[in-house]
């Protein structure tokens, strides 16, 4: 019985004017465009320097900033007001103000004579900009100290030099961080939305009436919807992984079978959610909006774009019920860190429970009679 239901779904999918195109275009878009766009690395921060000192030191610092890949020196203003006006106009993101006695104080090591003002409308740009600027200035001061007190870089103050190394993503490449996460998004969208629209569209067309009057078992009917979706998800994932290797040279550090194993489980979870919504909806619009609502919550609480550890406690608790959170974590761990299935027991357990609960729910929510 099941084979006929699955065959029917595939026939309908491939004859649909729209779905096969989406299945090709979406993975291509996601792998070729999104890793470049979904980039939170900040560069090209526009700087205005107000040089009140006009000393060799202040000029050296200005050159150093202009040479940094993070900054773009837009102007050197002579007054604070002039610089502030430019920031208000949106021409600059950051103002560095060098006070008149900068060189003198720099040598005598009196307290600060520099001000940084960052435009925090875009908090990421403002915060990171101020941070990078601080680093450049610290480096500059170390250089100055080394020159003024030759052979003694440490006049009383202990200088701690910190070196950091990015493990598992040595160049700190944002694309490598995002590629496993974008796979999660892709599977969520395709394997979540298609089943959401499926049952409800059969209701709208009236075809479900003819099915409901047959002795088809509820479980068979739901499996007939689930299995084609599941197979499609795995094919799309394979295309995506192939392109990730081809275009970005990114292959999983861990076992590829583990990637597939978890994907199998995750697709069951999202499809189950879609089928539940589809069962309770009476129109496709209603189903779409409901799924969209849940999907946005799941994405925001997934840790894909913002770290979970910095969310408030209540939001962190909510993420525990979010399948996306587990899958995103798993994908990054396997892909970048090479974790094995055994190290991912917790997420595995959580996803298994969700897959069971959601799909049993979907079967129960399917009503053959009113």
């Amino acid at each position: 019985m099941l084979q006929y239901l699955i065959q029917k779904e595939f026939r309908q999918i491939f004859r649909n004017a729209f779905i096969p195109k989406i299945l090709v275009v979406l993975p291509l878009m996601v792998i070729l465009v999104f890793p470049w766009a979904a980039n939170q690395e900040i560069t090209h921060i526009r700087v205005n320097i107000v040089d009140g000192d006009h000393s060799p030191y202040s000029r050296r610092l200005t050159d150093k900033i202009a040479a940094s890949p993070y900054f773009e020196l837009i102007a050197v203003s002579s007054t604070h007001d002039e610089a502030t006006a430019m920031m208000e106009d949106g021409q600059v993101d950051l103002i560095l103000e060098i006070e008149p006695d900068f060189e003198k104080h720099g040598v005598t090591q009196n307290p600060a004579a520099l001000h940084i003002a960052a435009n925090a409308v875009n908090i990421m740009k403002g915060g990171l900009g101020a941070n990078y600027m601080g680093q450049i200035i610290r480096n500059f001061m170390e250089e100055i100290q080394a020159e003024t007190v030759p052979g003694q870089t440490n006049p009383g103050l202990p200088v701690i030099r910190i070196t950091s190394q990015n493990r598992f993503n040595p160049h700190g490449d944002y694309k490598i961080f995002m590629i496993p996460a974008l796979l999660v998004m892709l599977l969520t969208i395709i394997c979540g939305f298609l089943p959401t629209l499926n049952i409800v569209s059969e209701k709208e067309k009236g075809t479900i009436e003819q099915i409901n009057v047959t002795p088809v078992k509820k479980t068979m009917f739901i499996l007939g919807k689930l299995i084609p979706n599941w197979m499609m998800g795995l094919v799309i994932m394979s295309v995506y992984l192939g392109l990730a290797a081809l275009v970005y040279g990114l292959v999983p550090a861990g076992n590829i079978l583990a990637v597939y194993g978890f994907a199998v489980l995750y697709i069951l979870v999202v499809s189950g959610i879609g089928l539940i919504i589809s069962n309770y909806s009476s129109t496709t619009q209603q189903a779409m909006f409901t799924m969209f609502f849940f999907m946005i919550i799941m994405i925001l609480l997934s840790g894909l774009f913002t770290p979970i550890a910095s969310m408030p406690a209540w939001a962190q608790t909510m993420t525990l019920f979010n399948p996306l959170r587990y899958f995103a974590e798993i994908m990054r761990m396997i892909y970048l860190k090479g974790s094995s299935i055994w190290e991912l027991g917790g997420p595995f357990f959580a996803l298994t429970i969700m897959a069971c609960v959601f799909n049993i729910w979907a079967i129960l929510a399917y009503r053959k009679s009113q």
Binding site: M1, Y4, K8, N16, K205, T207, E209, Q210, T214, S369
Partner: protein, 244 residues
């Protein structure tokens, strides 16, 4: 009487509205039973209850020997149903629809193929077997829907306005199919708004406002209401409903 459908005091309420109001009747095996009534009289609701698609609010119904409230899935194994609205898959080909339903009813895989060919020849649709259902004219769609409804040789087939919007020639052909099925022992339970079709039925029930107002052979009904045609019988009863 060897009855395959028994309804007693069958009732369906939606909130305050009583769509089907304590109806009782029996249908014998092999009978062509006409289920008549004005739009909104409760025919479709009653039929959906008998098919196990809708749960009765109260009352009892036995179809093919199974209780419609307690064993709806058993009922479904022994009936065929053709809904008022065409409900086969428009994006599947003619033979694919037949194959799907044959498979769902658990027909043997080896039997399906020859049976599809046989049915297609019988319907005169063999040349259209690879046509998408969406491209068939309405009359052909209805014939296809009927043959899918009886493909698994059910004991009873429920037809909800099977000839609505169909031309007279196709309607005539359709009734030939119905008679053929009845000859094979399939009980026919049919609703219609065409009074000439009502004459083809062995017995007719007239539903008015959720109740069965009359139930007899077409001939007896005409005599009882002193009417020349079934049309007049229908007018007299339906008007009675309006006045209430």
């Amino acid at each position: 009487m060897n009855s395959v459908i028994q309804a007693s005091q069958l009732t369906k309420r939606f909130g305050n509205f009583t769509a089907v109001d304590h109806i009782s009747f029996e249908v014998a095996k092999g009978e062509i039973f006409g289920f008549l009534g004005a739009n909104g009289a409760g025919k479709t609701t009653a039929m959906r209850m008998l098919c196990g698609l809708s749960k009765p609010t109260s009352g009892q119904g036995l179809v093919a020997g199974y209780d419609i409230a307690k064993q709806p899935e058993e009922v479904k194994k022994h009936i065929g149903y053709m809904s008022q609205k065409f409900s086969l898959y428009e994006d599947l080909k003619v033979w694919e629809n037949m194959q799907l339903y044959a498979g769902i009813y658990g027909m043997n895989i080896k039997q399906i193929r020859p049976k599809i060919d046989e049915k297609l020849h019988q319907l005169g649709l063999f040349d259209e077997r690879n046509t998408f259902v969406s491209q068939l004219p309405l009359g052909w769609k209805q014939k296809l829907a009927f043959s899918v409804a009886i493909f698994h040789e059910p004991q009873i087939v429920f037809l909800d306005e099977p000839t609505g919007g169909v031309d007279p020639i196709t309607r005539r052909q359709f009734w030939e199919l119905i008679y053929e099925a009845a000859d094979r022992g399939i009980t026919i339970f049919v609703t219609t708004h065409y009074m000439d079709e009502a004459e083809y039925c062995h017995r007719i029930s007239m539903m008015v406002d959720g109740k069965i107002e009359a139930l007899d052979t077409p001939k007896n009904l005409r005599e009882r209401f002193r009417a020349a045609t079934m049309d007049e019988v229908f007018y007299q009863l339906a008007r009675k409903g309006r006045e209430n």
